[in-house]
Symmetry: C2
Subunit: 342 residues, 2 copies
């Protein structure tokens, strides 16, 4: 029987939460369908120096258990001196700096309250070629937060024209429009924001495992993001924002924000691109654009995806941790072809 297949070279997840401790030990190997990832620094306390970054990178390497994985490590944004930035840049795994407007998302209470105070560090980053990654949400009404932040992106792009600025996990048509305005802006988009809207989160019953920040928006936003991804937009990259939380912190009052997609992102993306006749655009979305924009050379990894169904488990557990993925208990129409070694 003829099968559809997509072969990808060194796919990258440009926005990944691996956490720490037992949760890291559980989710690191589950995130290794990719050849590498941009690792978020919002630990408790956040990663704010070269030594902490290197130590975290080594803990990730240990948790990967021998799987080759390109760790694109980030610092949590604060005011940094040139010397501090130099010592981070000296590390081969250093990638960039992630800026959280204070208090917006998980473990970001130490984020930036005053954009003006950031200018000296941003000038240094621009001069030194260090990318800036931004969680771009205001403190306004939940459905307006991304749109309200766009003027700040615009100001950053104008004031720091040589700074590479990534709008992380964009969710709106308006953000896509802004992307067209400035060549120094790029963006990541998650799997879930290509698939769901607020209706999936709270339109029927309430679905904590689809609750994330930024929250899913309207159908017209979802459709525009998907069109941009399928069309091979050269500055749009896949970043899962895969964000594991223990099951008991998702299924309770006060459920934490985050969708865990790492173990299923590539098969689900393959199915999505294939069903829209855009299989040839997937390589750029999950690797090519990122490698070109950031001059990356991830570890070589060839992965083949095929339209053979795979069942997503109800939960992943190990080390006393239990995490429920997106599509838990469902069957995806595509899966990864096991390698001879695997």
């Amino acid at each position: 029987m003829p099968r559809m297949e997509i072969t990808l070279d060194s796919p990258l997840d440009m926005h990944l939460h691996l956490r720490d401790g037992d949760m890291l030990r559980l989710v690191a190997p589950l995130s290794a369908d990719f050849a590498g990832a941009v690792i978020m620094p919002n630990l408790v306390p956040p990663v704010t120096g070269a030594a902490a970054l290197q130590a975290y990178s080594e803990r990730i390497d240990t948790a990967m258990g021998g799987i080759p994985f390109t760790r694109l490590m980030t610092l949590f944004f604060k005011s940094y001196s040139a010397a501090e930035l130099e010592s981070a840049r000296a590390l081969p795994e250093f990638f960039g700096i992630k800026l959280y407007p204070a208090g917006i998302t998980t473990n970001s209470e130490g984020g930036l309250a005053d954009m003006a105070a950031a200018a000296p560090t941003l000038h240094l980053m621009e001069d030194m070629g260090i990318p800036l990654l931004v969680h771009g949400e205001s403190h306004g009404f939940v459905m307006d937060r991304e749109a309200e932040f766009l003027p700040i992106y615009r100001r950053l792009a104008q004031r720091f024209p040589k700074l590479r600025i990534c709008m992380e996990h964009i969710t709106t048509t308006a953000a896509l429009h802004l992307l067209e305005e400035h060549e120094n802006l790029c963006a990541t988009v998650t799997l879930q924001h290509l698939l769901i809207t607020l209706d999936d989160v709270v339109g029927g019953s309430m679905q904590p495992h689809l609750f994330c920040k930024p929250i899913a928006k309207r159908e017209e936003d979802r459709a525009a993001l998907l069109r941009a991804a399928l069309s091979g937009h050269p500055r749009l990259m896949f970043g899962s924002d895969s964000a594991p939380h223990p099951q008991h912190k998702k299924e309770c009052c006060g459920c934490a924000a985050g969708v865990f997609t790492a173990p299923l992102a590539l098969p689900r993306l393959a199915a999505l691109f294939a069903e829209h006749g855009a299989a040839d655009k997937l390589q750029d979305f999950v690797s090519g654009n990122a490698c070109r924009l950031y001059h990356l050379h991830p570890v070589p990894r060839r992965i083949t995806l095929r339209d053979t169904p795979m069942r997503i488990p109800a939960a992943y557990r190990s080390y006393g941790q239990r995490v429920v993925p997106m599509h838990a208990g469902e069957t995806l129409s595509w899966s990864i072809v096991p390698t001879a070694a695997g």
Copy 2:
């Protein structure tokens, strides 16, 4: 020390879910701060005939355990003959007919799919002076559902000018504007829609106990609803839509819609009206408007509220049921003054 007090005569809850069986036994006495209520008919199966209505009314009376309580009973909308409506109207507790657009809310799968098919019954109701109560939401995007339904309200109000049409649990400024257009429209509003927005439901962490249908909207909507209530709008009535679900159906994936407010609605409303200097408007909001619009004569009950704090329990339980109220574990600034008998 001087105390603030508000005394109310026979407060009414114009939209209440009492459920059935053990849940009814738990929540009926907890809902009896009010002298009476409009009781929703969305049981499984729904209440669609005089005999079922009378039997449900008697079960409620039993569950009240001797507390005098005016039961304003409703039928679930379907096509009814004149004879069927006559037999319902012959019952002293019959109040009106509740229309659910099919599938919108809890246990409403039997609701109305085709508004045109409703015309004969609506004509009969108009001729016989039977009020129509409507859950007015479209099947569209969750934040637009009420606004999208407003043209149907407008058409109903124009086509059936003598029909008393109540827009249940309104949540938007747009619904308030429509209320001004047609004298035969009135509306209920819940406690939670005077207090919260979507930000409280999913803006920080996810809060299942604030999740209801219609979902809470924007701050400008909340503020407009509160202004209308505080100003003594003559066709706006309190209807709690207090909707108990077992705790395990709220704190899980797929949390059911509904906020349980019955046991705390009056103290919380008293605090709200008092803090806005509108204590004199509360009587009309919780009883006067409804009695005038619907010619009601509820059982006499005098209730005094005072600015003495009361603690809301984490949950109410009895008969194997456990329900978490709004404001669980919090302290309200007002409470009900116990009567000599109580």
